[in-house]
Each structure stands twice: as C-alpha cells, then as structure tokens.
C-alpha cells in the first residue's frame, strides 16, 4: 500500500488541531506521524530546463526515466529513446496485454464474422431475439475497442520506450479515427498495432500508406464506398487537408476530386474476391481485409497537383502519395504539428523551418525530425506548455504510482472521456487539439480538479479488477515521494507552497499538488 507507512506531506505546524481532526475524520488507514521527516533533496535535483525537456519527451517523469536520464544525459537519452522499439513491459503489465483478445485478433476473420452475425441477426424472426443478439454483438465491439484503449494506456504508463509511445498517441491523433463508426470498434486495436505503431518512428510516407490501406481508415472516411462514377470525396479531402498538406497547402477542389478518382476501388473486403474481367484480375490486391478492386477503379488519367498520373491501378495511389508527401507543404505541415504538440502552441518559425528542412532532406524520416526538435535551443527557451488531458492523466498516474502496475484502467478511460480526450473518441477526423486554448476553459479546469481529487484520494479503484471486483490495495498515493522532491518540489512557487501548506489531509494535499500550475504545465 502506498500510504500506510508514509508520513503526511503537509507540515504538521500548518495543520494544527484542525488538520489532525480532519485527518482522523478522513477515515484513512494511515495515522498521523509524531514527527514528519522530509526526504532530503539530493544534491542534484533536475534543473528546470532538464525537467521540462524530460517531461515533454515522456508521458511524465517517473523514477525509471529519471534514472536513465541521469545516467545518459540528454543526447544519449534521446538516442536511446529514438532507437527503442517494442520495449519490454513490466511482467504483470505484459501479462495483462497478452491476455487481451485484441492482441490475438485477425482483422479479416473478425470482420467476416461480424458481417455474418449481422446478416444472421437481420434474418431472425422474433424482435426479442434480434435485440438480444444485437446487444451481444455490441458488447463484443465495445469490449474490443476498450481493450485497445487499455493496451494503449498501459503502454503509455509503463513502457520504457516513452517517446515511441508518445509518437504512437501523436500519430493516432494525426490520423484520427472514431471508434463508434461502422465496424471500427473491432478495428482500432489492429489499426494502432499494425498501421500506426510500426511506423511511429519510421518514415512518414509509410505511415500515410499504412493508414490508407487499413480498414479502420477506409471505413471511417468512407473510401470503401468510393467507386468509379460514384466517387466519395471524404477521404481524399481529409488526406490532403488533415494528414499531409494542410488546408493552406496549395491544393484545390479540383485536386480533391482527382485524388478521389485515384482512390476509387480502394476499400475493404473480408469476404470472397469479386468476379473480375480477365484483363483486370492481375490488378487485384488483397492484404488482410484491405482490398484494391480494379472493377471499381476509374482508369482514366488524372491531374494531381499539376502532375499527370496515368490511369493504371493501385500504382496510381503509390505515385500520388509519393507526390504528396514530397511537397514542401507536407514537410512544413507535419513539422508544425509535431512542434505544436511538443514545443509550443505557436511553435517558433525558425525551428519549424529547420524541422521542415530535415524532413525534406531525410525523405520524411520521423526520427531525424524529432532529433532536430529535441536538440533545439528553441525547446529550452519555450514557455511551459499546458498538458492536454491525456498528458495530464497519464503523467499523474505515472507520478502517483511510479511503476507500480495498476490493474483497472476504466477510471483512466472515464477521466479522459470527461475531459474530452478519450482515445478513438474524436468524432471528427481533425483529431484533438494540442493547444492550451482547447483544454483550459473554465469548465475543463474544474473537471480537471475533480479528477485530480479522484487520483489523489486513492478511491478511484485503480487496483480493483477490470470486471469491477474490489481487490483492496487501495489507500491514497504518497505524492511527496522521492520523485516529487527530485523533480517537482524545486519548481514550486511560493504561492503554490503556501496553498499546499493549508491542506488538512494527505488526500487534499494530493488534490492541490495535482491541480497546481506546476503540475499542469510542463
């Protein structure tokens, strides 16, 4: 238990009898100690600049990342993070992930089964049977979609490859999909694992193609319905506007229509291959549930961004993606998005320009672009950045439990929903904003404090079983731990210290610390 052996972090002198009474009334298992002993701050607490740098590269500092940083220093720590792929999770966490259904799922088989079940349900005669079967199917979808979230959150909290995990979140948001549409609840886990994750620290072009070929994206933005003479522009438009060039990236409505034509026939099929004329059969492509159906493709020539693309099948798509991702506008748009997430709401133009150059020279190598950013003087000079809800919640859990595996992720998912940033929960394809103005309104601040209280009180049930079974192991977290004194405490203003001194219980102190400006900015 995190609390039973520790002393309160509020100063006894500041609490007096009132504090003692509140402490006793709080019903907490931990007795007030006769004398509070603070950890002695070590000689080398993290400098303000290093703390900010490490916060941004991770989902918040924990003891493991702090230790690694101290051993390696900035450049070697960064190189280690840029090189880490699929780092080993702590055994209990790895076991949780491995036990998930979503970790062993074949998309094609799953989609076929869901389709067959829907057909069966529609054929059922009795309304009650139909309703019951629908409910079961929905429950399966919800379970799989939640498993995907749970796995993402577990990795974010516990993976040593923190930068990779941050980039997985970043790209999932850049190529955002919404789990409640079509069959996406069955697909988001695979989308993360097989489209986004392998390329999160790879090449941008591969990310675009991997998302383009994933049933989740093709269902979400309707491209599976995009056919010759029946075009649907939805995906083509967002591919240019949100994924690659940006709305001011120099393309026209004409380009959107031409790209939509290029994307005709790119779709999803979990069933039998279509019957095709013999001359088209060699053009047919199928990987998993992804399908390129030449029978639905518009074989005319297209004019995209001033280049003629000769009509010839799926190679048009590859040519178009190559053309798009090599535009300067794309390098600039993507660099700006990354810098906005990690550096500042309005990233310094000079830094974005250098990242753009790196992007262009390295043919969209994400590692190279990140290196340029994380070693820049602009990052050190940047003002503290307001944590978005994902960063706030995950960093609070990392800070409060510091590597101790939690078993129930539902509270985290609920908090992210309440704060408006649930994974796979963005209805519109623009993804969540990375800027303070999107997250620091009056309503969001008070909601955030409620969640700070839930984390600080230890009553959230993070150590219960996922199915709702109470497991004990509760008690509130000890936030005035070694990590606090090494990293956060030196940064606190006199004002924040003054407020913390007025806390009348450990839980309240936790609430105030997690609500403080110093914790909410990084």
């Amino acid at each position: 238990m995190p609390s039973s052996t520790s002393r309160p972090m509020f100063k006894p002198a500041a609490c007096g009898l009132l504090g003692l009474a509140a402490w006793l009334l709080s019903g907490c298992a931990a007795p007030p100690p006769a004398a509070a002993i603070r950890h002695e701050a070590p000689a080398a607490t993290l400098s303000r600049a290093d703390a900010a740098w490490l916060q941004r590269l991770t989902f918040g500092i924990d003891s493991a990342s702090l230790q690694s940083f101290r051993q390696l220093g900035r450049e070697r720590f960064l190189e280690a993070q840029l090189g880490l792929r699929g780092a080993v999770l702590p055994a209990p966490v790895a076991a949780q992930v491995d036990a998930m259904e979503v970790a062993h799922l074949d998309v094609r088989v799953t989609l076929a089964a869901v389709g067959a079940e829907r057909q069966r349900i529609n054929g059922l005669a009795a309304d009650d049977d139909r309703e019951a079967a629908r409910k079961l199917l929905n429950e399966q979808g919800n379970r799989l979609s939640y498993e995907a979230v749970r796995r993402d959150l577990l990795r974010a909290v516990y993976s040593p490859a923190q930068l990779q995990e941050r980039m997985v979140f970043f790209w999932l948001n850049h190529f955002s999909v919404y789990h409640q549409k079509a069959e996406l609840r069955w697909l988001v886990g695979d989308y993360e694992e097989h489209a986004i994750r392998p390329h999160a620290l790879g090449h941008f072009r591969d990310l675009v193609l991997a998302s383009l070929e994933h049933p989740a994206m093709l269902q979400y933005l309707d491209n599976r319905q995009n056919r010759a003479a029946h075009t649907n522009e939805n995906y083509a438009r967002e591919l240019l506007e949100l994924h690659t060039l940006g709305v001011d990236g120099g393309y026209s409505q004409q380009d959107v229509q031409q790209l939509a034509r290029i994307l005709t026939g790119v779709g999803v099929n979990a069933g039998d291959a279509p019957h095709l004329r013999r001359e088209l059969q060699g053009q047919y492509i199928r990987r998993g549930a992804f399908e390129f159906n030449p029978g639905q493709h518009d074989y005319g020539d297209k004019l995209l961004l001033g280049h003629t693309i000769r009509g010839r099948g799926f190679d048009e798509v590859r040519e178009a993606v190559d053309l798009i991702v090599r535009q300067r506008a794309c390098a600039h748009f993507v660099s700006t998005a990354i810098a906005r997430q990690f550096v500042a709401d309005n990233p310094p133009p000079a830094l974005v320009e250098r990242m753009t150059q790196t992007f262009l020279q390295s043919d969209g190598d994400i590692v190279a672009v990140l290196r340029t950013m994380f070693l820049s003087h602009e990052l050190d000079a940047a003002a503290p950045k307001f944590k978005d809800p994902q960063q706030f919640v995950i960093s609070a859990v990392r800070f409060a439990y510091d590597g101790r595996p939690i078993s129930n992720l539902r509270p985290l998912y609920r908090w992210l929903g309440e704060l408006g940033e649930a994974p796979y929960g963005r209805l519109t394809p623009d993804g969540y904003a990375a800027t303070e103005i999107a997250w620091a309104s009056s309503g969001q601040m008070s909601r955030r404090f409620e969640i700070a209280r839930a984390i600080g009180s230890g009553n959230a049930g993070l150590f219960d079983a996922e199915d709702g079974g109470k497991a004990g192991g509760g008690g509130f977290p000890q936030l005035s731990n070694r990590l606090y004194f090494d990293t956060l405490e030196p940064l606190l203003s006199a004002q924040t210290r003054g407020v913390l001194d007025k806390a009348t219980s450990q839980q309240e102190w936790n609430l105030l610390l997690l609500s403080s400006p110093e914790f909410n900015y990084e």
């Binding site: 522009e233 506007e241 959107v256 408006g420 309503g443």
Partner: protein, 410 residues
Amino acid sequence: MNRHQGRADLRTRRDVLTLGGAVLAATGLCGRLFAAPAAGPRLLVAFLRGGYDCANLLVPYSSSFYYESRPTIAIAAPDATSTTGALALDADWALHPAVRDSVGGLYLQRQAAFIPFAGTDDLSRSHFETQDSIEMGQPKNAAHDYRSGFLGRLSTVLQGAAVDAAPIAFTEALPLSFAGATTVPNLSLKRAGKAPFDDRQVQLLSDLYAGQHLQSEVASGLELRQVVAQEVAQEMQEASRAAITTKGFELEAERMGRLMRDRYRIGFIDVGGWDTHVGEGGSQGALATNLASLGKGLQAFAQSLDAEWRNTVVVVVSEFGRTFRENGNRGTDHGHGSVYWILGGGINGGRIVGQQQRVSRATLFQDRDFPVLNDYRAVFGGLFRSMWGLSAKQSGQIFPQVEPAGLGLI
C-alpha cells in the same frame, strides 16, 4: 434511498450552497453569475457540426429537380390529409416530418422562421475551415485572428455599453465563437452532478491560480459548477414529483433553458452527427432521428424559459449545406449554401425569409450545391442590431465591412 431521505439530502446540500454563495461573494469571485436578470434579449446559437442536409429539412417540394436529384432519399411532398408527413410551409417549401410537431408547431405559431440559401463565402468545403471561419466571423480577405470570435465580440460590445451580456457555452470546451471575450464560463449539461468541492477547497484551488494566467477560468469554472449543482438538485426534486423524465438532448436543452432564464443572456451549444455521406435516410433514418432529437430539444428549451421565451432568439446554423444530388451511397457530400433557423417567442415568424431563388439545376452553385444569397454575417449582424439596438459602429465592431441584413424578424 427512499424519497424522504432524498429530500433531506437535497436540503442539506442547498444550505451548503447558500453558504458557498456568501463565501464567493466575500472573495470577489461572485459577480455576474449571481446577478438577478434585468430586462433584455437572450440569444442561443446552436451549431450543427458536420454540415446538416438542409435540403431534406426545408424541402423544396415544388421542384421536380429535387425529386430527380434524390431518387432514394427525397422527402415526399406534403399531403394535406396526412398528419405525419412533411408539413407544407408555403407553396414551395415543406418541413421534414421528424420536426413537424416540434419546430413545425412553433412555425405555425409564428415563432419560427427559416432562411434558405444562407452561409459563408468560404469555398473550402472543409468542415473545420468553414466552421472556424463562421465562428470567427471575420472578413474573408483579412488575416484570421483565432483569438476573436463573433460572440466574443458581441459580448465585448455589450459589456462596453454596460448592457448585461452574461455569456455561457454549454459545451465541454470553449467554442471559437466566444474567443476574445473576458472569461466565458462553459459546462456541458450532459453530465451534471453534485458539487465536487466544499467552499474551503474552492478557495484553495482558486488561490493556486490567483494572479496567474488562468485565474478567471479557474474561479468561474468552480463557481459555475456550484451553480449547476444547485440547479440539478432542484431538477431532481421536481422530477420526483413529475412522472415523466426526459433524457438526452431534450434534458440537456431543458437545463440550458432554465439556466438562461435565470442567469445568462448569450448561450452556445454544439449538436453533432450531421455528416451524412452514407445512408442518410429520408423521412426516417439517420438524419430524421437526429432532426427529431434536435426539434424536441429546442421545444423543451422554449418551454423551460417560461415567460422569458418571448425575449429569446435561437439561431440554428451549420457550416455548409450538402450536395443537392445524392451520392452513390444514398448520402450527400459537402456542399455550400445552408438553411438557418430562427426561433423565438417574440419573433415575427411563420415565414421563409431572406433572398431567394427558384430551386432548379440552373440555379445550383457550381452545378452541385445551393448557392449562398444570405451572408451569415449580415444575418447575424441584422439580428443583433434589432435585438440590442446596436449602432452602425457597434455592428461594425462585431462584423467589420458588413451591412446588417434587415429581415424584419424582430
């Protein structure tokens, strides 16, 4: 918990809240939230995110081209003998059956009007670009300032003239429309519960940010949370007497109505789910379900305002209309001109207003969409001018370079 115990709890909570008010007043955090409403207009802007298909809301049933363009999703022409089909509003336009009883009822009482061919000069056909440009409400040729929204400027102009503006956004996040105003409280009423903090904790949390960048957000957020907890407590008490309980958007709208009746003058709400590229449906289906929920909500909003409904104007907008022809998936794609709705207990409604054209292939914009004949800034500018008696200078501060449109609704 039995009913008796429930009431006892509520009473205790209210006592605490009264105390909360006193503490807040003493620390200067109170201000407008607790101010008694003076006479004056109220405004609610409802933004339908996703570009709703206006041609199936306000159906141009006299146009054969409409029926040719929408073989599977068109709404059948009104039939005078039917009480469930589309409602004929005049010789050319009919209202979708899903809102026949709600918004149609208001229209027949002259408390609703529609402005077809309304929208923006933004031609990106991008949801986000167009939503942003509407919410900013700035001239097209000027550089965009993301720190200034049109409701923010309205609030500022009114406050500058010492008129009670009391803005609120019923959304989880603050919409761009309100950018630039002094702190606007926001809170989604979808989930509202009891007050999370006691007064001492409210004070401590506010102290953390005193004198800092987020000071007013923190203080007003905590304060509004207490106010809403009080409203919800009252609602629960009333619900325990009435048998019928409302849910979803209707409940949310009812809460909005009560809060606006008692405390606020300029409100904003988002309603999502209108991006019907696939399987839009006709008289029934996805769009119909969404329209029905919206209509019922707006009706509930009107009712819960009581007598204040006469002083209230609701404007329903969306970023663009959709393609006039249905696409290959029984849906519609991003278009241009939209239909705005104006509702209010005191408006001169029961009319289709603004510049109009016959609906035919020849009058489509780019052979694809409804054209825009009524610029949204002129429409809003005209409404604001009549509602608050703004001068030309004040109107110009809200919508520069725009001549407000006189639609004779107020």
